[in-house]
Amino acid sequence: MIGIVREKINLNQVLHAVEDMSTGGVVIFIGRVRNHASGREVVCMEYEGYDKMAHRELEKIAAAVRSRWPVRQFAMVHRLGRLELGEASVIIAVACAHRAEAFVACEFAIDALKKRLPVWKKEILPDGEMWVDGVKPELNLYEEDDR
């Protein structure tokens, strides 16, 4: 299950997608909207993305995760649009036979998302709005997978 969506992410659906009787460890990461940033109160967040490319970048993360660790099931969903406080912008679920590789793979997946996904977010503040400072995409992230 890989996707860029605009509706609320359903955690149960994500969990269902990684059901697998051969896996004993499932690590889930939920990134959600926080009520403050850099000391400012945040009212909500707005996410925009380059959809078609973002979807392909999620697929690349999935491929890299599977090539690096013995991941049996993998799900990753990122939401765009206006998100209220506490709502999930991203959910990642990694299922492996054992927990150790599931933890490592899940952390790699969220780090890769931060380095590659063409998505931008804006904080809506009580008295205005502000685009969040981003990072320059890391073009060589997957070079070691190609070798």
């Binding site: 990134g31 959600r32 909207v33 926080r34 940033a37 996410y47 993305g49 380059y50 078609k52 490319m53 973002a54 392909r56 990122h78 912008s89 991203v90 969220i110 998302l113 931060k114 590659r116 996904l117 063409p118 998505v119 931008w120 977010k121 685009w131 969040v132 400072d133 981003g134 990072v135 320059k136 995409p137 073009l139």
Partner: protein, 66 residues
């Protein structure tokens, strides 16, 4: 989306960005911070563009939660 006409059949991403900043001077401050993508794939400045290619110039990214 903006459409730009080029005289040469093959130009690089760098050539395209240079022409865009000449035609649209307001883009100039952004030229150094954007990253190019061609047809939905990140692309270096040397990447050659062909007819009908889609070039996107992406500002620094900020997906995920904070």
């Amino acid at each position: 989306m903006i459409r730009v006409q080029f005289d040469s059949p093959e130009i690089s991403v760098r050539d395209a960005v240079q022409k865009l900043t000449r035609d649209y001077p307001k883009l100039k401050p952004y030229a150094a911070i954007v990253t190019a993508a061609v047809n939905g794939e990140y692309a270096g400045e040397e990447t050659m563009l062909r007819h009908q290619d889609e070039l996107a110039l992406l500002p620094p990214i900020s997906g995920g939660a904070n």
